[in-house]
Symmetry: C2
């Protein structure tokens, strides 16, 4: 009697969450997220989990259960669902967001979307799956309990313990306590903030701070935040209402989320006429406007970035405007957001960031909240999930501080099975797992070789050497045209005449040495040209452009 | 009677500091730094200030005065000095570091290096230049007073107010007060930390924290910090001595700084035999070792990074080792350093970062220190320097809080003159200024066109299309070879047969359309192939590789 837990994403990393639970012939999947590419993944748009393991076991999959509507939990579904064709279970808002996302890439059968309610278990093969409410930076977030003959396993999903949530839906701590009394085999716990002591503050404090800044503002207020943070948006709208400002929503993802959340009843507009179209904002005085927008991460094409650089068609930033960046930079984005802030100051706007007051709080649990959940559920085994190694290790330390032993808290790795029986937990073998790169329409056609080439091209460009040789089979051949040189991204050619002439001479010498051989081969000739020019350019410039010899028989 | 102050670097940015002071026929330059390239400057190694303005006025330049030995103040000198051939003035350690740096790129006449002492003025044309001691994260740092017939201008250089500096050299606040009493026309002030309230803590507190962590460590201690932070290194060495650990210095820049600082008397070794060579570290028990190393920013080739990934030839990290990262991530490096931390945890090391205690303090003044310097010097005009726009604006706000008016505090821009007379300050015209890119041996040969090409190449690679056409002047021509296609960084070719065949067909059609024209031109033919393939690839892949058509007459 064994339960296998296999993280295909979200462990040892933040992003592309995908957890597999397997008991005999039943597989239940939780989430299917994306990760945004690191800088060295040149040209890659998205990174999704490798689901080969699931594709080979399609028949066993009873469903994909989704915890909440953030990209790192649902962004992979447009790619994953069509390949698995299984039901998707989630709460109402999450299903709404998944549906909208899947639509963009071809859709998915309506019958496979299943709205579930927290507290009402769903039978999925041998698993009884029950969602429980958690609080997080998006409404309608849940964690899951998976009850199988081996015992109960709980995955928190992304959570914080917010005692005063904006929508009144508290985290279901009582349910966790109840399960804890009955006996929990394993707890998979969000580790994102496990390095941070204390407790994450309630979303409600942000509302208060926003209202204070709003009240002080004289010109336009432009507030950038994550589009999915519906409660943040609700609080901004409420403050705007109170201060008699109209609200204008700008930016594709912000417009989409506001529409979906409003349609499904998750966003409340205190007055029907309080939203104004972006085309109409010039009809209102600046002091009567709140612009809600995207770009809190400094993303080059997001609305706030374009406003800051004077490249937005409809909204400009004026001296005296107040720009509130209600977010924290995702690691790697610090420079981009810094650039936006500088542009805004250059214009003469007031800029309010997290450093100046509580205009943002995290959506993840800090150490004391994690301790609470462990104490309530009293699991036999504790599995840090949703985090890099540093976060997993931090969660292990929290567990140890509560009396767990190291061997009860595994640091899991992508694709490695955690095998659990009612008595013990072991690390099993490794299944096929990893990252699949999405580049344009291509899924998985860009791998290490292509990326290595892109890296070389990005640093020093490309040099094409074109040589025409005499036709015919017998020796001797001779050069009849070229070598000619075309380069891109290497050096500014117009000022590099000497360099290029030298390169031609070097190539000629290399070719002629080959031609003098009794017999010569195309491959060897190309290699000789490559080596000669590679050395020559390194000597002269300390650069290594990609060299592509093109030989033609003329 | 006019003094011109022209920032050629270091304003609106952090990095490549270079300030020009011009009074009639006298020019004095302060600093000549580098900036490290942003991510979008693909392949660029360094960014240095454009000094065209100075090159055209060589004869007027009386000297370059250097504030301290950090890269962003001296890193440009190997490129700048040979082009100006003027004396360099600095304190002893700074001269030592400049000399070592200039040596690497060909050297500079010994007679042009002038060691100066704080408090002893140097006449440089119409300027009387006097250095005054400041405290900063490198020893022997100074600011400068420039006295000209227009009045006295003071530049703080990089500073903090450390009342308990490690080397006992306090910041010369009395001198600033004295000049303040006499009358100061303008103060150029370090703005780096102008957004931060309060005071930066003394370097001395770091020594205490380090000693505590050292005392707790059981295995090896590996401490990474900025090589130039000689006082930090001194404190680590002192703590190691006390706890009977030997010290091993690893990493090129760390070894170089330790050598220079020791030779010049800025670093004190409490026992002659306490340094051990990296080759010998296996002769010592782990619990008796402190490794001082580079890589606190996660730089891919730095020593700590290689140790963390098991790629360092001599030093490995073992479970139970303590790794102290005694630095703060420079914006943009957060992800790299995070990766190193994850690798270290994976190995099972303890990792100590700034978040866990005071293992690092800044070298720059916070708001209260800036106020102190303004109050002491009582300048007529206040010029925020050494900072991005956000920092300059923050410094302006500090000035305003002390009663200055906005017009007394200009937000300067690169290359724009600040013109000062004893009565007033104005913004003048803009001189030639900007960034020059260093790529390998090339200085300035990579510009926007090359960078744009590199960007395209980095995202979607390159496709070379080779076509042989019949020789001869008369129409009709025909295709005799190809079109053949070579690509790199575009897609994994072995699995893209259909795509490539389709591309060949498209190219053939485009060529034949041209060949049917009454007359055709090479350029038009190339453009037609380019357009046809560009559209084809976009349709099929949503990518835009660089397309290079190569036409040959065969």
């Amino acid at each position: 009697m064994k339960l296998n837990i296999i993280p295909l994403g979200g462990t040892g990393e933040i992003g592309k969450n995908l957890l597999v639970f397997e008991y005999e012939d039943s597989i239940v999947v939780i989430d299917g997220g994306v990760k945004f590419p690191d800088d060295e993944l040149l040209g890659i748009d998205l990174v999704i989990p490798d689901i080969s393991y699931l594709e080979k076991r399609k028949d066993k999959i009873k469903g994909i259960f989704v915890t909440h509507g953030h990209e790192d939990h649902i962004g992979g579904l447009p790619f994953i669902l069509p390949r698995l064709n299984v039901p998707v279970y989630a709460t109402k808002l999450t299903i709404g967001l998944v549906r909208a996302k899947v639509q963009e890439r071809g859709g998915y059968p309506d019958s496979l979307f299943r709205v579930l309610e927290p507290g009402k278990p769903v039978q999925a093969g041998e698993f009884e799956v029950e969602a429980f409410r958690v609080t997080h930076s998006i409404p309608d977030a849940v964690g899951y309990s998976l009850l199988s003959p081996v015992g109960r396993v709980i995955y928190t999903g992304d959570f914080k313990v917010d005692y005063t949530p904006i929508d009144g839906h508290e985290m279901d701590l009582s349910k966790l306590a109840e399960w804890g009394q009955e006996g929990v085999l394993a707890l998979l716990c969000d580790s994102t903030n496990a390095e941070r002591p204390g407790m994450t503050m309630s979303e409600r404090v942000v509302g208060k701070t926003l209202r204070d800044w709003f009240a002080r503002a004289e010109g336009k207020i432009i507030m950038a935040t994550f589009a999915s943070n519906v409660h943040r948006i609700q609080q901004a709208i409420d403050a705007a209402m109170e201060l008699k400002r109209k609200v204008c929503v700008v930016g594709r993802s912000m417009e989409q989320v506001v529409r979906t959340a409003h349609e499904l009843g998750y966003l409340h507009l205190p007055a029907e006429d309080m939203l104004v179209d972006v085309g109409e904002i010039n009809n209102f005085s600046h002091s009567r406007l709140l612009v809600l927008t995207t770009g809190s991460q400094g993303e080059p094409f997001a609305a706030l970035t374009r406003m800051a650089t004077g490249n937005h068609r409809q909204v400009n930033v004026a001296p005296g405007d107040t720009v509130i960046i209600s977010a924290t930079p995702v690691p790697g984005n610090e420079k981009l957001i810094g650039r936006t802030i500088n542009h805004l100051y250059q214009i003469g706007a007031e800029v309010v960031t997290k450093d100046m007051g509580l205009v943002h709080v995290s959506g993840h649990a800090c150490q004391e909240e994690i301790k609470l959940v462990i104490r309530l559920t009293r699991p036999k085994f504790l599995i840090p999930h949703h985090g890099e190694v540093r976060h997993q290790v931090a969660l292990r330390k929290i567990g140890q501080s509560l009396g767990y032993e190291e061997k009860q808290i595994p640091i899991t790795q992508l694709g490695t099975r955690v095998v659990i029986t009612p008595e013990k937990m072991e690390i099993g073998d490794r299944v096929e797992a990893g990252s699949v790169y999405v580049d344009g329409l291509g899924i998985g056609d860009v791998g290490q070789i292509v990326l290595r080439d892109r890296k070389q091209l990005s640093k020093d460009g490309v040099v094409v050497v074109v040589v025409g040789l005499t036709r015919g089979k017998g020796v001797p051949h001779s050069i009849v045209s070229g070598p000619d040189i075309i380069s891109r991204g290497f050096t500014f050619m117009k000022e590099a005449n000497d360099l290029i002439e030298g390169a031609k001479n070097n190539a000629t010498v290399a070719i002629e040495v080959q031609l003098k051989q009794e017999s010569w081969e195309w491959g060897v000739m190309r290699a000789a040209i490559h080596e000669s020019l590679s050395n020559y350019f390194w000597d002269k410039t300390r650069r290594r452009p990609m060299i592509l010899p093109v030989l033609l028989q003329v």
